[in-house]
C-alpha cells in the first residue's frame, strides 16, 4: 500500500511536467557523456603511453671501445637504480633495424650501407620509469667512451603533457556540467513541490510523515539522475570508438579496442554518479520548502 502509493506519486510527478523532467535528464546525460567519454579517451591515451613507456630507450652511441670495456660499461649502467636493463646493439644489428624501419626509403639505406660508421655500436638502456629517461641520458652522455646519448624525450614529454591537459579539461567539464545538472534537477523538484503545495499542506495537516512526503520527490530526482546516466552509458558504450581512434597516436587505430569489462565497470560508476546527483539535486530542490 505505502510502497505503491509512493510509486504512484512519483510517476504522477514525472508526468505532470515532462518537459522540465526531460531537461534535467538531458543535463545529466550531457554531463555524463562528457565525463564518461573523457574517461574512455583517457584510457586509450594511457594505453598509448603504456606502449611508449615500454619502448622508451636511452641510446648511448659508443666510440672506439674494446668489447671488454663495453661489457664493463653494460654491467655498471645496469646497476644504476634508474635503469631496468641494458642491451648491447652491434653495428650490424643497428643496420638490420635501420633497414627494417626505413624499408620504404632505399636511398637512405644505401647511404648507410656505404658508410657503416654512421651507425656505430650502441647500448640500449631501458629506464625503470619512462619519466626518468633524462637522468640516465645526462649521466650516460658524460661517460667515457660514449659519443652521444639520445632519447625520444620531446615526444614522451608531449604525451605526458597531453594526458595531463586532458585530465584537467575533464575535471573542469565535470565540475561545471555536474553543477548545472544538479541545479536543473533541483529546479524540477522545486517545481514539482510547488505544483503539489496544496496537497503537501494537507498531508502535513493530517500527519503524514516527513519522509512519506519527501520520498516521491527523492524518487523523482533519482529517476532523472539514473535515466540520464543510463542514456549516457549507452551512448558512450556504443559510440566511443571513432573518437578514441581519432585521438589515438597508434599507427593502426583499429587495434585499439576498449575492453567490454572496463566499459561495464565505468558504466556502473556513471550510474552511481547519476543516482547520487539525482538524490542530491532533489534534496537541494526540497531544501527549505519541505519543513514541518
Amino acid at each position: 500500500m505505502r510502497f505503491q502509493y509512493l510509486l504512484t506519486q512519483t510517476v504522477q510527478g514525472i508526468r505532470r511536467n515532462p518537459l522540465v523532467v526531460a531537461s534535467a535528464i538531458v543535463a545529466v546525460l550531457v554531463t555524463l557523456v562528457l565525463v564518461f567519454g573523457s574517461i574512455v579517451v583517457r584510457w586509450s591515451i594511457d594505453q598509448d603511453i603504456g606502449r611508449w613507456d615500454d619502448n622508451v630507450r636511452v641510446i648511448a652511441w659508443l666510440g672506439d671501445v674494446s668489447p671488454d670495456q663495453v661489457y664493463a660499461m653494460q654491467e655498471e649502467i645496469a646497476s644504476w637504480p634508474e635503469v631496468d636493463e641494458v642491451v648491447y646493439f652491434s653495428k650490424s644489428q643497428a643496420l638490420e633495424e635501420f633497414k627494417e624501419l626505413f624499408a620504404d626509403q632505399p636511398a637512405l639505406i644505401e647511404v648507410v650501407q656505404e658508410d657503416p660508421s654512421v651507425l656505430p655500436d650502441s647500448l640500449r638502456i631501458k629506464p625503470a620509469e619512462a619519466g626518468s629517461y633524462d637522468v640516465i641520458q645526462n649521466r650516460v652522455a658524460v661517460y667515457p667512451g660514449v659519443q652521444q646519448a639520445t632519447a625520444a624525450g620531446e615526444e614522451i614529454d608531449a604525451l605526458v603533457a597531453r594526458s595531463n591537459r586532458m585530465r584537467a579539461f575533464a575535471v573542469g567539464v565535470f565540475v561545471v556540467l555536474g553543477a548545472a545538472a544538479l541545479v536543473l534537477i533541483a529546479n524540477t523538484i522545486r517545481m514539482a513541490v510547488y505544483a503539489r503545495r496544496e496537497e503537501i499542506a494537507i498531508m502535513r495537516l493530517v500527519g503524514a510523515g516527513n519522509w512519506f512526503i519527501r520520498i516521491p520527490f527523492l524518487l523523482e530526482g533519482l529517476f532523472e539522475g539514473v535515466a540520464g546516466a543510463a542514456l549516457a552509458a549507452l551512448i558512450v558504450g556504443l559510440g566511443h570508438k571513432p573518437i578514441v581512434q581519432m585521438l589515438s597516436t597508434v599507427a593502426d587505430p583499429d587495434s585499439i579496442v576498449v575492453p567490454v569489462q572496463f566499459l561495464l565497470q565505468q558504466s556502473l560508476l556513471v550510474l552511481a554518479f547519476g543516482a547520487v546527483t539525482g538524490l542530491l539535486g532533489s534534496a537541494l530542490g526540497m531544501w527549505g520548502t519541505l519543513r514541518d
Binding site: E199, I202, L205, V206, R291
Partner: protein, 240 residues
C-alpha cells in the same frame, strides 16, 4: 487532554498573539475560543497543532509535550488532532471520497481500512450519496462537511476548528454545529475558534474569551458576551 501553561507567543515584528495563557481542557469537552479578530484565537490553534512554537511557556496536547516534541514526532501529534478551517482546504482535483481517503492514505493506512472507514464517516456527515462529486459541485456547507469528514476519519482525540462556519450562511452553519456536536458526543474533544455570536449563545458550552492574546474570561455554559465581566471592546470590535 490539552494544557497550556503560561504560554506566550510574540511574532517577529513584535505582535503579541498570546500572553501568559493558562488553559486546561479535559477529554470530551466542547470549548469555544471567542474574541475579535487579532485576539489570538487562531494562534492558540496553531500552537496546539505545532504549526507555531510558543515564545515561552509549555503546552501539552493528547499526552505530548508539544513545545518539546522533536520534529519527527510532529506528524504523530497531528494524527491525534483533526483540523477544520474556514476555507475547507479540499483538493479540487479529487472527489469527496478521494479527499477523505487521502488523509488515511498518506499516513499509510491499509486499503481495507480505508474502504471501510471512508464510507462510514461520509454517512456520519450525510454525504454518502455524493461521494463521487468534486468539491466544486458541492455547496459551501457540503464542502465543510467533507473537510470535517477528513478531519474525523482517523478518529482523532481532538478536533480543532478555526472559524468553521465563517464562510457559511446561518442556516448551513447550524447544520455544521449539529455535526460537530455529534462528533463531540463520541468522546472527541472539540476546540472551536469563532466569532459567531448566535452559535455560541445557542450552544451554551464552555467559552474562553481572548483579547490581545490574553484569556479574559473562561466560563462553562457561557455566552459570547458576558456583560458583567466583559469590556465593550470584545464583541463586534474589529482589530485595533
Amino acid at each position: 487532554m490539552i494544557r497550556l501553561q503560561d504560554v506566550s507567543k510574540v511574532y517577529d515584528g513584535g505582535v503579541v498573539a498570546a500572553q501568559g495563557v493558562n488553559l486546561e481542557i479535559a477529554k470530551g469537552e466542547f470549548v469555544f475560543l471567542v474574541g475579535p479578530s487579532g485576539s489570538g484565537k487562531s494562534t492558540i490553534i496553531r500552537l496546539l497543532l505545532r504549526e507555531e512554537l510558543p515564545t515561552s511557556g509549555n503546552l501539552w496536547v493528547a499526552g505530548k509535550h508539544v513545545n518539546k516534541l522533536p520534529s519527527w514526532k510532529v506528524p504523530l501529534l497531528r494524527r491525534s488532532v483533526g483540523t477544520v478551517f474556514q476555507d475547507f482546504k479540499l483538493l479540487q482535483s479529487k472527489t469527496v471520497y478521494e479527499n477523505v481517503a487521502f488523509a488515511l492514505e498518506v499516513i499509510g493506512r491499509p486499503r481495507h481500512v480505508i474502504r471501510q472507514q471512508v464510507p462510514q464517516v461520509l454517512r456520519l456527515v450525510g454525504l454518502a450519496a455524493k461521494a463521487d462529486r468534486l468539491p466544486r459541485q458541492l455547496s459551501g456547507g457540503e464542502q465543510q462537511r467533507v473537510s470535517i469528514a477528513r478531519a474525523f476519519v482517523n478518529r482523532p482525540l481532538i478536533l480543532c476548528a478555526d472559524e468553521p462556519t465563517g464562510n457559511l450562511d446561518p442556516g448551513t452553519a447550524v447544520g455544521i454545529m449539529r455535526l460537530l456536536d455529534r462528533i463531540n458526543r463520541t468522546g472527541t474533544t472539540v476546540v472551536m475558534a469563532t466569532h459567531d455570536h448566535a452559535i455560541v449563545d445557542a450552544m451554551r458550552r464552555r467559552v474562553v474569551a481572548l483579547d490581545r492574546g490574553a484569556v479574559v474570561r473562561d466560563q462553562s455554559r457561557g455566552a459570547y458576551e458576558n456583560v458583567p465581566l466583559l469590556p465593550e471592546d470584545l464583541g463586534e470590535a474589529e482589530p485595533e
